[in-house]
């Protein structure tokens, strides 16, 4: 079954207004691994008949990496262009699968004239399950599996969202195991603050390797995350230990889509 991905432009041409805008983000649009997360989320949105749209080719970088790198000019140029587009479509509510976009749109756009209700995709999925729109069958594919959740910094510490992804994992009938550093004390994957785009400074270890060790200690078979950057870093970390055949790194949206057999 093909994905149904309406754009804001198409919707507007038909005189329709979506309930929520899905902000895909650069990773979700271009990175091969992250695109799978994007599609998993769209499958869920389609299944639940959520009235959503994407900006498509009108979307542009939220400006997060520019701001974290210290280039406020590039950030504000991006933000104001995006805000013009978003306000032009009278967007009220935004969902995104990228905690970096989430944080920027939610916290840093208001002062530049962009005021939206911004939610992370795990919060939206939680809502869909709570309202009965998405039903997970008992004993799905993840029943009994050990799953650990890696907190993305920009979702957890930066915005205090710890429960939504964990609630979803518990819905899978799986065993949620916590790493020794989790929630407020969760260790970064190493990609934040524009580190994703550069080599790390000299040290004695890569941060994602240190973090993967935390995950391996739990003997989980699945490392769940809610961020495309974390996904990349943890996937590389697992490969570093040659464990890619034993341990999967999956986004919470992928877990739910799989469990719901979408």
């Amino acid at each position: 079954m093909g994905l149904n991905v309406p754009t804001m432009a198409e919707m507007m041409a038909q005189g329709e207004t979506p309930d929520v805008l899905f902000w895909v983000g650069c990773s979700g649009s271009f990175d091969d691994r992250a695109k799978k997360i994007t599609k998993a989320l769209v499958k869920i949105l389609n299944e639940c008949k959520v009235n959503f749209a994407v900006l498509g080719t009108e979307e542009s970088c939220s400006g997060d990496p520019a701001k974290r790198a210290g280039n406020e000019f590039t950030f504000q140029m991006q933000a104001m262009m995006n805000i013009q587009v978003l306000n032009g479509y009278e967007v009220k509510r935004i969902v995104t699968a990228c905690p970096h976009c989430f944080n920027t749109l939610k916290n840093e756009y208001p002062e530049l004239g962009g005021n939206y209700e911004v939610i992370h995709h795990t919060q939206l999925i939680q809502d869909l399950i709570n309202t009965g729109k998405l039903v997970l069958k008992d004993g799905g594919v993840f029943k009994g599996q050990k799953i650990t959740f890696h907190d993305p910094c920009y979702l957890g510490r930066a915005n205090d969202v710890y429960d939504a992804p964990r609630t979803l994992i518990e819905k899978l009938d799986a065993e949620l195991v916590e790493m020794k550093r989790c929630k407020t004390t969760g260790l970064c994957c190493g990609a934040g603050g524009a580190q994703m785009f550069k080599e790390a400074e000299k040290g004695n270890k890569e941060i994602n390797v240190e973090r993967t060790e935390d995950a391996l200690e739990t003997s989980a078979t699945i490392i769940a995350t809610g961020c495309p950057f974390c996904n990349t870093m943890m996937t590389d970390g697992v490969k570093n230990f040659n464990k890619e055949n034993e341990i999967q790194v999956l986004d919470v949206a992928e877990l739910i889509a799989n469990a719901a057999e979408l």
């Binding site: 994905l3 754009t7 895909v24 650069c26 979700g28 649009s29 271009f30 695109k35 994007t38 769209v42 994407v54 498509g56 080719t57 979307e59 970088c61 990496p65 520019a66 974290r68 790198a69 210290g70 280039n71 406020e72 000019f73 590039t74 504000q76 140029m77 104001m80 944080n103 939610k106 916290n107 840093e108 002062e111 530049l112 910094c153 920009y154 510490r157 930066a158 915005n159 205090d160 407020t184 004390t185 260790l187 970064c188 190493g190 934040g192 603050g193 524009a194 994703m196 785009f197 550069k198 080599e199 790390a200 400074e201 000299k202 040290g203 270890k205 890569e206 941060i207 240190e210 973090r211």
Partner: protein, 438 residues
């Protein structure tokens, strides 16, 4: 009479010199740029009560939290005894509160004595953790030299203080017993009294010992008070204002640079006249970001004075735990050291003095600030709500916007965002291709 005058002089000098140093610190902090932290007073009081008074964030690490609690409660409760010392000192009296409070006095001093013993245990434990067990976060290279001496000196002063208190109470107890009176019955010194009596039953000597304890105690108190502005130990006072003025926004929200907003708006306004004269007289343009401490906000500078160098930030920093050069604690220590230097220079040589040094470059290197992942672990960990990340970000802003200096990959990333709206080289027109792929 002589002792009253001596005490009064000591008190005036002690408090006066402290006030003089506090004025200097205040002057230094106010060298920072403005930032508004006066909104939402009720939330601020709540934060201060929980975090500073209630030590909420300390308890994520229970062992040091309990040890610290012994010193903290002993310190706070002992202030009651200090009031009596003042009363005695200024009237020439002896245990002024005893008659007023009666039985409660015995309870109060006993309570203080027990807390003091606990604090002594805490102090010894802290000295051991630092010097014998050599806990990693208390033995990092940024602590070499003065910071380590500072930390040990404070703990040794604590021990001297405790020794003075028990010399005073123990000798007094012994003197009472020697005079044939019933002892005070304080929890600890009623055991010390007989020990003192074993050493000497000379009333004169016992009285001298008590006086040594009494004067030693009050001299230590004033010494300690005046040591604070030079020491990392200033946190015992500054933790309160520092938590009151906490950042109440979400940690992920970086400040908006309004000076940039004005320019970007002008660039994006098709009707703007680029040659138009400014409508209002412009103030001297501010530097983008921070090169030196005076480019930081006063809250960043208050943070620096509040830091007690415990290193929780550094021990949770992903860059630091993987061997990178960045240490958030060092960022705070450097900021304070540089601020003290800038403040001294200004007082000596005038406001515009330039020593050709700066926080970035002479204290903090570029490698340190580029190691940061902006994960907020340091901000989360700090028991007194210090924010090293905002300093790191402001230093980055200066480097990138004023000097165009950054790791070359970041130049590429920024160019991509400007050219094609993504940090990688993908065309904006391909943004929806994923929807058509399998």
């Amino acid at each position: 009479m002589l002792s009253i005058i001596l005490f009064a002089v000591l008190a005036i000098v002690g408090i006066g010199f402290f006030a003089y140093n506090v004025r200097k610190v205040r002057f230094n902090i106010l060298l920072g740029r403005p930032t508004d932290r006066t909104d939402n007073a009720s939330e601020r009081w709540k934060t201060m009560t929980l975090v500073a008074l209630g030590q909420k964030k300390m308890f994520t690490r229970p062992i040091p939290a309990l040890l610290h609690l012994t010193l903290y409660t002993a310190f706070v409760i002992t202030q009651i005894e200090l009031i009596e010392i003042f009363a005695d000192g200024l009237t020439g009296g002896h245990r002024t509160f005893e008659d007023v409070l009666g039985g409660f006095y015995t309870f109060m001093i006993s309570f203080i004595e027990i807390l003091t013993v606990l604090a002594l245990i805490g102090t010894i434990a802290f000295l051991s953790r630092r010097n014998l067990l050599k806990l990693p976060r208390l033995n990092m290279k940024e602590l070499a030299g003065w910071p380590m001496k500072d930390a040990n000196l404070i703990l040794i002063m604590e021990i001297v203080l405790v020794a003075c208190i028990f010399t005073m109470n123990g000798a007094d107890e012994a003197a009472q017993l020697q005079k044939g009176n019933v002892g005070y019955g304080f929890a600890i010194s009623s055991f010390l009294g007989p020990l003192f009596l074993n050493m000497t039953d000379n009333l004169e000597t016992l009285h001298t010992l008590e006086m040594i304890g009494w004067w030693g105690h009050i001299i230590m108190v004033f010494a300690f008070l005046n040591y604070l502005p030079y020491s990392k130990h200033f946190h015992i006072l500054l933790a309160f204002p520092n938590t009151y003025y906490s950042n109440l926004e979400k940690k992920g929200k970086f400040t908006n640079m309004e000076s940039v907003t004005a320019e970007v708006k002008l660039m994006m306004d098709p009707n703007a006249d680029p040659y138009a004269a400014p409508t209002e007289p412009q103030a001297e343009p501010q530097r983008f970001g921070a090169k030196d401490v005076t480019d930081l906000t006063w809250k960043n500078l208050l943070d620096a004075y509040t830091c007690t160098e415990c290193g929780r930030c550094t021990s949770s920093c992903p860059a630091n735990v993987t061997g990178k050069i960045l240490s958030p604690r060092k960022i705070m220590m450097d900021t304070r050291d540089r601020l003290v230097e800038v403040g001294e220079n200004m007082r000596k040589h005038g406001k515009d003095y330039n020593d050709n040094k700066s926080l970035l470059g002479d204290y903090i290197t570029e490698e340190e600030i580029w190691s940061c992942t902006s994960c907020n672990a340091c901000v989360q960990e700090c028991p007194v709500n210090i924010d090293p990340l905002s300093i790191i970000v402001d230093l980055r802003r200066y480097l990138v916007m004023e000097e165009s200096k950054m790791p070359s990959e970041l130049t590429g990333m920024l160019t991509n965002i400007e050219n094609n709206g993504a940090p990688w080289q993908f065309s904006q027109n391909d943004r929806l291709n994923w929807a058509k792929e399998d």
